[in-house]
Symmetry: C2
Subunit: 188 residues, 2 copies
């Protein structure tokens, strides 16, 4: 699978169920969100702007995607929403790996860079580093309508949090899936 | 990595934090356990007996392991404990894949068979099927002292549950790890 195909498969609306395991306190934190994933043309102003922020020629971008979320963190009944734009810049001569540019707009606006790679098992690995935080996320499809994510965060070199997310397609680019039968269609 | 090396790395005592996402009801279920993983010699009576149950020559077994757990399911404050013996029978000519035999002793005693495979990324994939249940589990090491697991279950062909587990070494075969500094040592 190419990164373009991975993002195409990801496009649409998802119900996202996330659990974090705090590795020091051994507590869990659950969150549920509606997530919308949209493909952005490589000449979309947000893609071009993000490339320019890092002084990268926008013509080198292979993919752009916008992820918007709106949900609740259960323990604190706290609403959270935000969006992020991701842009991939393939390494020269490679179709499966490269540089990742990301801008996150939530409580505040953050830009980070990292790396992406599609494994031989079609899973996408995203690695980002920002200040003392390091994170690696693995995303893969169990079926076209069920996406899984697991991520690990390090803070100042120590693993601090493991997070796990199950995402069930609610509609969008895969016409077979409807919100009313999302759980059933997860198996299709 | 070979299956023998994967089990050797797994040997010891672990704090195991498990979360299940019910894909239909969208509810989570958390559980915490102490888990002990012991390597069994291939001529151990439990390994030999499990092979004989499936009319497999015990000399074909490459690995035996016993997993014992003792913990609590949080929502119902319910104690759960049990043990399982796993035996691997490599496919002829392959060191990275083969048949998996498993006997689980919990509320009742169940024997199941399945398949194992070590991927090119050193993750272990276990697939089992029993009646209308199908399950695939992926296990991998983030570090020698932090093991991750994610599994998916199907019931009658539909995905029913996604489960995620973080396991922090509490002691045992890796002398660097002590119970008192498990979270810190998870990063080593």
């Amino acid at each position: 699978m190419t990164i373009e195909e991975f993002f195409q498969l990801s496009a649409g609306k998802w119900f996202s169920h996330r659990t974090g395991h705090d590795l020091a306190s051994k507590q869990s934190k659950n969150g549920k969100s509606d997530v919308i994933i949209e493909i952005l043309a490589v000449d979309h102003p947000d893609v071009v702007k993000l490339c320019q922020n890092y002084k990268i020629d926008p013509s080198h971008a292979s993919c752009g995607v916008r992820v918007t979320w709106n949900g609740t963190i259960e323990s604190v009944k706290e609403k959270h929403s935000g969006s992020t734009v991701l842009v991939t810049i393939p390494d020269e001569g490679y179709s499966d790996r490269g540089k990742l540019l990301q801008e996150i707009v939530s409580a505040e606006k953050t830009s980070i860079t990292g790396r992406y790679q599609i494994g031989s098992d079609d899973a996408l690995i995203l690695t980002t580093e920002s200040g003392s935080m390091w994170s690696e996320e693995r995303l893969w499809f169990a079926s076209p309508n069920l996406r899984m994510r697991s991520s690990l965060m390090k803070h100042s070199g120590d693993f601090s949090m493991a997070s796990y997310t199950s995402e069930i397609r609610m509609g969008g680019s895969q016409p077979a899936a409807k919100a009313s039968d999302a759980a059933q269609s997860a198996s299709s």
